[in-house]
Symmetry: C2
Amino acid sequence: MLNKDLPLPLYYQIEEYLKRKIEEREFGVGELIPSERELSERFQVSRMTVRQAVTNLVNAGVLYREKGKGTFVAERKIEQPLKGLTSFTEDMRQRGMSSSSKLIAFEAMVAPGEIREKLKLKDEEEIYCVRRIRMADRKPMAIETTFMPVKLLPGLTEKIAKGSIYHYVEQELGMAISHARQMIEARAADEEQAHLLDILPQSPVLHIERSSLLSKGIPFEVVRSTYRADRYSFISDIER
Amino acid sequence: MLNKDLPLPLYYQIEEYLKRKIEEREFGVGELIPSERELSERFQVSRMTVRQAVTNLVNAGVLYREKGKGTFVAERKIEQPLKGLTSFTEDMRQRGMSSSSKLIAFEAMVAPGEIREKLKLKDEEEIYCVRRIRMADRKPMAIETTFMPVKLLPGLTEKIAKGSIYHYVEQELGMAISHARQMIEARAADEEQAHLLDILPQSPVLHIERSSLLSKGIPFEVVRSTYRADRYSFISDIER
DNA sequence: TTTTAGTAGTGGTATAGACAACTATATTTC
DNA sequence: GAAATATAGTTGTCTATACCACTACTAAAA
């Protein structure tokens, strides 16, 4: 069942096995999975190795344990995983819509005070300011303004900014965004926003400001977005 | 340093030790903590036990590891922890405001179709419907309508509904809400909402619908809230 | 019939060791 | 001096075992 020659850890292969069985409904929601001792016997690994696999899935919310009884398959939280930390591109894809962008501003500038503080930059340090209209199914969905330190994105070009910056950062630069804080407000659209989003002035809009950090807590970006309320709702899962 | 007679696991005592040292700035942000072997030597426990403690703190985001180098103290994510899953009462307390409620409806009724589906109830099953105006610093902040299965809250009274239902559920009934899904939208206030919130009709409001589950995935409540946009913004932390 | 005690099975905690993969530094070799 | 090589220290993975606490069931005792 397991391949000891593969460069993949055994506990990881066991995780994949368990997830597959759950996916295939062989282990149904609320049901017991085989005991740790039985799995270690079946896969010919030590119980500690099985335990590492099961513990990871418990932490991920896929399984839960009850002392003296066994380990059970947890209720699925999600129809779509709907990870909170996704790019606009990915967000729209998950919602089953096509996405595109219209770049309306792309410049490097000295960071204004408020942004400088949030990105923890020194005085005079430069940032990119990228302003885009985000389209879903070819209709305006949001206005998005992104501020990022120039020093973190040496090779950023206008061409990249027209697509997915997240994709560039993760695939090309190999950096990973680890967490973010968001503030969500309801506002009334001003004249400019209404014009760009093709709605009436004073229409309700969802305003989101997100500050994202790379691993080790390095501030990466501040994003201010204004979404059409009639086309967008923000969904999040909350734990504990 | 550790007490082997205490009914507390050794790994837990090591977790507390490490968190204390970080709190006291003895292990500063970004600095190396002692290696796993050194800690196991110091506390006279096996390395696996130290590893369990460190792994838990890595999962909690307090530490991060780098292979071949060591384990480091992570940047603090939070000024206030700002847990997502809090009651209105707790939410306002964290924001430094006093909270109170005005009960405007409290009744048991057969669940309408939409709510029945979300709470996974059988036909004809009854729910409580609690409608409250939520006040912060004595001014209206939100209108909140809560739907809960009667069978889960046998002793719910109007008196309790005037205060914190979450407090009653957790402290008196001993049930714990484990996770929730929220949908957040921007809307324009209708006549009734505007009147209850003391704002002008068509003012922007934040509409939040939350579905909460107890452990093991039992649906507990559906809450629909309408917040004054000029007084409230929704803040959340997102991982990975 | 009811209660009590036993027993087998579960996850929870902990040990002592082993080797692999990776990083940084020092040493040797060219 | 520069490059290749050792080596010491780190986390990553894994083993084989042990005993504890808890649950569910069974068998014996009241």
